[in-house]
């Protein structure tokens, strides 16, 4: 991001930390919300407000105009297959603007179906192709209705530390040779149950299959998004005040413990790809 652009974003507000806020676009909230995706918005808002940072949320639906320069963070959740098809065309139209904004440092979190659509393409089991917007160099293939879905607890090791969550997806995602995963799988399937990778990361954009409420239990990821959004708006010198995360860490540890216990009960000390 150039200095000129940054001045354009910040105006006079950057000088006064008390009035800082982040501008968040929630893409297709009525459609891409299949399980607990509201939790991510709730967690971001909570963690901003706990620090006195404003949280300006805009919902962007099919047909709405979308000005990526007006946002610091974009969220997209998961949908049912049929619903995903409905928004794919609209998203592709907005795609170049979203990609350009991410190249300028905008933060993004794309979950489950949203992750698939933020990647290059989705190939149905009968060969039908739904184009994605190519933020991530990755392709998702659906192995057909008879293949098992990847369902269960997930524990990842990521650049932000351990991340826990739950996955439930039919498609298998394969990253391009230079595309970095968000994390490596310790428990669960991850992108495809084969290569041990989960999600994708590009600049401040995170794609993951950990659906719904990934942010409440992984405050480091929530804070990484908030910090990236603040820096996008106000410049690189911004830091985040730490929060007492006892409740968040307790929920994180509990989820990691459950994943461990279920994995042992299932008799697989963990292999990605036993399905």
């Amino acid at each position: 991001m150039s200095a000129a652009q940054r001045v354009g974003y910040t105006g006079a507000m950057a000088a006064d930390p008390a009035t800082r806020s982040i501008r968040v676009a929630h893409l297709y909230p009525d459609v891409m919300n299949v399980y607990g995706d509201r939790g991510n918005v709730i967690a971001l808002r909570y963690r901003c407000e706990a620090r006195g940072i404003g949280f300006e949320l805009a919902e962007v639906n099919v047909g709405d105009p979308f000005d990526p320069a007006a946002f610091d963070l974009v969220l997209i959740g998961g949908g049912q297959d049929r619903e995903q098809r409905r928004i794919a065309g609209d998203l592709v139209a907005k795609g170049p603007d979203i990609r350009a904004a991410i190249d300028r440092g905008m933060a993004a979190l794309a979950v489950c179906g949203g992750f698939q659509l933020f990647a290059s393409r989705y190939v149905d089991h009968d060969g039908g192709v739904i184009p994605g917007i190519g933020v991530f160099d990755a392709e998702t293939r659906h192995p057909g209705p008879l293949a098992d879905r990847c369902i269960g607890d997930v524990v990842l090791m990521t650049g932000l530390g351990e991340v826990v969550g739950f996955e439930n997806h039919g498609g298998r995602t394969y990253l391009g040779p230079r595309q970095a995963p968000f994390g490596t799988v310790r428990r669960g399937f991850g992108n495809n149950g084969e290569d041990g990778g989960e999600g994708a990361i590009y600049r401040n954009a995170y794609g993951t299959y950990l659906h719904g409420s990934v942010l409440p239990k992984n405050p480091a990821l929530a804070d990484a998004l908030i910090l990236a959004a603040l820096r996008h708006r106000y410049g690189r010198e911004i830091e985040l005040a730490p929060l007492a995360d006892d409740a968040e860490q307790a929920a994180h540890q509990a989820a990691a413990h459950v994943a461990e216990r279920r994995s042992r009960a299932a008799g697989s000390p963990h292999i990605a790809g036993n399905h």
Partner: protein
Amino acid sequence: MLSLRPTEQVKARVAVAVMAGKGAAVASRLLGRGGGTALPGLVAERVDGTIVRDLGRQLGRGSVLVTGTNGKTTTSRILARALQEARIASLHNREGSNLMRGIASELIARAGPFGRIPAAAETLGLFETDEATLPAAAASLAPRAIAFTNLFRDQLDRYGEVDTVAALWRDALALTPKDATLVLNADDPSVAELADGWAGPIHWFGLDDPAFATEQVGAVDARWCRTCGGSFAYSRRYFAHAGWWRCTGCGRARAETETTATDIRLELERATFRVSGVGEVTMPLTGLYNVSNALAAVALAKILELPAAAVVAGLAGVRPAFGRQELVELEGRRLRLMLCKNPAGANQVFRLLAAIDPGPGLNVAVLLNDRFADGRDVSWIWDVDYEIVKDRLAACWASGDRVEDMALRLRYAGWPSPEAVKGPAALLDAVLAATHAGNDVFLVPTYTALLDLRAELARRGAVREFWKND
């Protein structure tokens, strides 16, 4: 066996299955493995997969099925009570045993040792049926009517997507006798579209009270018209995607209803409303969703030609189903058990808590388990509007196997310092410490958390064990 003629082979298989099933029921009770409601059927199904067909089709009054995401237990109980009032012999599966094995268990329990159900010719089968079990149940039982209460997203790790359930239901209708009556909730567009391609009779039920239209719909699944792919517009919205809908694409709209609730009054322990063809009724259950469930039962009662007086008495006399607004006294506290199995059900319960007089403040505990029957994925709690009661609370607790997740959710919902208490014994101790005799306490558990809580309440002498409860 080889010398038997085919019909006798069937009888012999049924007889063996019945005996094996009864043995398993006794064994499971002796072993203290819960109510013994599902195990006998499981054994029997292995012995003979056609047990439900062979026994169920003996019923001279036929069978009716009740399915849907929420409300099927309540609907079934109201109808069972009305049948009792009308002195019609009926046979119904127990609470929570709504898979094929649960239906088989009930049939086996009623059958004599040679696979005959006594007085079968005069008996009606009333079966609460799991959504995913409907195709098998419809194929085996050849029902004369099926009631569909509603379709919400449920535990996606068990049922798959909402679309998957809708597709299963259409499969079931292809296996249902063509002259069976569908009882459909007109307010739910996903249920209403089952009418497409159904040539047989349809009985529509629905709510008609503008006072209950709301903007506060909670987590809503996107729904699209199956005919044209258009979105739905609402002139009135009751909860989630239920209301007076119309497709903005093709103009398809909510049907006129034959069984309609008007003039609805909700209080903490009862609901009063008028039902077309029946008159004013009062039932000891509350919440708009229970009025809708009651309508499904009234519609079935009309199809079965029960007298209006039996319907009125059935509604008045119904006892809350296991954990559904069930009242339990513990050391003078009135514990109100409000089972929540999915976000739609939970949103309805919290909307109810947001509407009642809180007095000096509500005492509320939310219990989250993540066992198979609860759904192993706890993300759904983020789709529940716990926020709407945050300013009405006196004391609040999180509990259950996933107490940490629940406590975090309630904290993020703005609940004042929710106390995290792991097991049911510790929770009840905390509740007793923070409340006084005469206080109301709302306990909102998932399914297995309710079982745990009931077990602890039974240990303290507050309730009987659940399978002896009817």
